[in-house]
């Protein structure tokens, strides 16, 4: 059984597809669903660029087989902005604070931070934010502006 039929809810839409069991979730999202917002950097779980939410929790989509997500719910960066293009508060805060330069790592940061902000309703300390973003690498900006953006995202949500 190297093929498998899965039912995965991706950004609210149920996808019913026969897939190869060896496909990584990241490749499934990008190559089969065309959701290329999820970026693939290291492909072995170090860089965090491919972070998506699985049943609301941040996971590395390169460290998961798509078949493992069968019956579960996946959210990618494409789910953040409104249909009319209005940014999610976290996206707006990143834009306002120059928290991205080339943007390659940004989808991973956004998805990690979406979960972090939802699960930490009280404004965290810089130290806590640093810990929270430690699973995502950014090679352009350094992290100071990202930390600023996370703090502003709290303000924008209110």
């Amino acid at each position: 059984m190297s093929n498998y039929t899965v039912k995965i809810k991706v950004n609210g839409k149920v996808i019913d597809k026969e897939i190869e069991s060896r496909w990584l979730l990241s490749d499934f999202l990008r190559d089969k669903l065309g959701l290329t917002g999820t970026h693939v950097g290291c492909e072995h779980g170090v860089c965090g660029a491919c972070t998506v939410l699985l049943n609301g929790e941040p996971v590395r989509s390169c460290l998961m087989l798509a078949v493992q997500a069968d019956g579960l719910e996946v959210e990618t960066v494409e789910s953040l902005a409104e249909e009319d293009g209005t940014f999610h508060p976290i996206q707006q805060a990143f834009a306002n604070n120059h928290a991205l330069q080339c943007g390659f790592c940004t989808p991973g940061f956004l998805m990690s931070m979406k979960n972090f902000i939802e699960t930490h309703p009280v404004l965290p300390t810089d130290e806590e934010i640093r810990e929270a973003i430690s699973g995502n690498l950014c090679r352009c900006t350094g992290y100071s502006n990202i930390i600023k953006a996370v703090k502003e995202a709290y303000a924008l949500k209110c």
Binding site: S2, L24, H44, G45
Partner: protein, 293 residues
């Protein structure tokens, strides 16, 4: 980097998983969270014919309290242990050390059984389990047995697990009243594998002397190392500065860390002494504060 072709099997019960292992064992690999296995597949360092995904085996999940131990199912995720109030109360060493396992994106998939079965010598869970003198319960379709960490961990990434066996649960002894604990680690970046790590539990007597000492070092040898002579040296002593400093360096000669680009053999050995000293101080302090009620 894409995994090679394999057949994917997803049992819904432990019995089903064990039967699959009995049938395909030699050519099969158990996948729990996949956080170590998938990189190996991606890089094609591992090319099993069958992947048995135990992610839906509910019997292997959960945290239970027994009289003297916290029993954690092999398929229980790191994040569930990290957030467990029961673990925090009865075995806080685990709560402290598990935060060093990868990043939260890894801990939301990675499992306790997976970390133990992978047996990376610098991984946190094997070190903590060894320090606590815990037990690993393994099962096959024929039998169930309980092993000590010393019986289970054989060498780098090598355990005594047979192809037809899997980890059912892991027993972490509760930390006794009057004890203190500490987990100390140095890694190049937070979330990386440790250069060296130390887990320690010290029990103090009413007179302030050490009644019992349980220590393990990770990353220093091919398996977690129990410094037995150091433990014996500590028992019965009043843990003042000179005793702690002497204990911390007593067995450094017996450590045989691998040197690599992240740290030389000498540095790791030196670091072992530094971290052991810090761990002993912290454990003594916590025991005196009475953190375990």
């Amino acid at each position: 980097m894409k995994p090679p072709k394999f057949s994917y099997l997803r049992p819904n019960s432990l019995l089903e998983a064990l039967n699959m292992l009995a049938e395909y064992g030699d050519d099969a690999k158990i996948m729990s969270g996949g956080q170590s296995l998938i990189p190996l597949l991606n890089m094609r360092l591992s090319t099993p014919g069958y992947i048995i995904d135990i992610g839906r085996v509910e019997e292997l999940k959960g945290i239970r309290e027994k009289e003297d131990a916290i029993v954690i199912g092999g398929m229980t995720r790191h994040v569930d242990v990290e957030k467990s109030a029961l673990v925090q109360e009865k075995c806080p060493l685990l709560t402290e050390g598990i935060r060093w396992v990868g990043h939260n994106q890894i801990r939301s998939r990675g499992t306790i059984g997976g970390s133990i079965a992978h047996a990376d010598p610098s991984a946190e869970l094997p070190c903590m389990l060894t320090a606590l003198r815990g037990e690993i319960v393994i099962v096959s379709s024929e039998e169930e047995m309980t092993l000590s960490p010393e019986e289970f961990f054989l060498s780098y990434l090598l355990t005594s697990l047979e192809p037809n066996q899997l980890i059912k649960e892991i027993r972490f002894p509760k930390i006794k009243k009057g004890s203190g604990y500490a987990f100390e680690e140095v890694a190049r970046r937070h979330g990386d594998f440790a250069l060296v790590e130390v887990a320690a539990v010290l029990e103090l007597d009413y007179d302030g002397t050490i009644a019992d000492a349980k220590i393990a070092l990770g990353g220093a040898n091919s398996v977690p190392f129990i410094p037995e002579a150091t433990e014996e040296f500590l028992i019965g002593k009043l843990p003042d500065d000179s005793i702690i400093k002497e204990a911390a360096t007593l067995q450094l000669d017996e450590l045989d860390p691998e040197g690599d680009i992240h740290g030389s053999k000498e540095y790791r050995r030196y670091l072992s002494g530094v971290l052991l000293e810090r761990a002993l101080y912290k454990a003594v302090e916590r025991a005196r504060e009475g953190v375990i009620a």
